[in-house]
Amino acid sequence: MSKIGNIPVNAQNGKKRTNPLAGVFDELVQFCQSRSMFMLHYCTGCGAIELPPAMTSRFDMERLGIQPMVTPRQADILLITGYVSVKTLKRVILTYEQMQSPKYVIGICSCTVNGGMYWQSYATAKVLNEYLPVDVYIAGCMPRPEAVIEGLRRLMGNIENGKGIAWKDYFQRYDHYLGNQQHLFGNDWQTPTDIIGEARHYGLETEQTCGEHSRILEQHQQPLEPYKMRIKL
């Protein structure tokens, strides 16, 4: 991630833009972003069973330009469909951080809202919002495909009006999210993605990006090393 300096900065924050048509382009891009969303469904719980009817012939998400994608690099929406155990949450965060902004998170089912029927479980993360910035919650146990489509349409409306900016919150208030993650996973928690470096690079850093929790991260951070190639014969 240290090589990220090669990539041209998309200067939007605070800098004056000289192109008189910049506003028009922004609106065009926002419109296209709302009409074309690739969805990575991280099917953790029972809500996953509502997605096949929403995608296939009965409710046909492709009408709205939403189609499934299989890698986080290409995806725009991360669908969390059900309860998130502590172990799963690590994977969800790794996945989320690999997605390219603008990215959106949708929490489906009551379990992502407040723990649902797993409220008393010691192994389940209750409120997804504390660990990732969630754009839209779709409550229900489980929500029907109509409700899923309704939630996606609401997300489309938010993006078109320029309100789908929860992903910036993750960069701007990273210390808050990191603190909650460390509370669950312990102080030696780290991910391969350098969020603070990305926030600096893309001009999204605020005073809440770094703080006491990111200092703990720096103390425990170990440099990433590539996997050793091993061939078993």
Binding site: N6, N10, C32, S36, E62, R63, T71, R73, Q100
Partner: protein, 296 residues
Amino acid sequence: MTSVTELLAELLLMPFIAFVVGLAMVLMYRKIAARLQRRIGPPLLQPIYDIVKLYGKETQISHGLIHDIGLVMAVGGYVAAEIFLPVPGMDGIADKGGIITLSYVLMVPSLGLALGVGQCANPNGSIGISRALTAMLAYDIPFIIVVFGVATHYQSTSLVGMIEYQQIHQWGIFEMPLLAVAGLFALQGMMGKQPFEIYVAPAEIATGPMVEMSGKYMGGLFVMQTFQLYTAGVLYTSLFLGGGANWFEFLVKIFIVVAIPMSVALVFPRYRTEDMVRIMWKWPVMVALIGIAFVL
């Protein structure tokens, strides 16, 4: 002087037309898929929305210089191929290149993609690209035999000459039906559609070569796909269906040609790589060789 400006205008216009027609072909593919699955399918401008969105991503991950250059090669190889493909009213430099040059240029995108994916260092990508290159080896053998047979029949390697001959006499598909069948078979592999799409395999190796592509890189691949469909359609039309006397006839022909592999694709699962090589080197090669025997 006018001929130079005319040529330059053609060189700019031909890839642009290819892009627009290719977008329509991508839409057609998704619409055919939707209709076969009893869905409504995407709206009219969906391919454009996808590409604009991918280029409008605010963070981009580059894995290094070769990653960037590989993508440029992948798109650029097809842009170069478009100016060798004659369309009604425009020949570009087709009369100077001929079909031998074209079949070399058509290999550039796969090699560029292999370079770019190599630097991503993702094991899924490496598996995918090794399968893609094996697939290229599989479909190129029947494709080259078909090209050889067609060139022997017309006594020419110029696509412009072939089209003129077919429009005066009769279409190539009637004069050498066996080669046309083998060519359609190779086309299925060239377009990377089922049953020969093992190298993308979304569920097994996470779309293979595309696994690390994000934002503008994925956008580049979407653009490449539009060129790929157009090239496949125009090439087959020029070889066997007599090109087009006017744009309407030409567009109808290339859309029908592209629709055949698409419709076949949607009712098939996929072959494994070694099965693909086996089937490609057995049936279309055999049919094409018999076809050549008739032509000679």
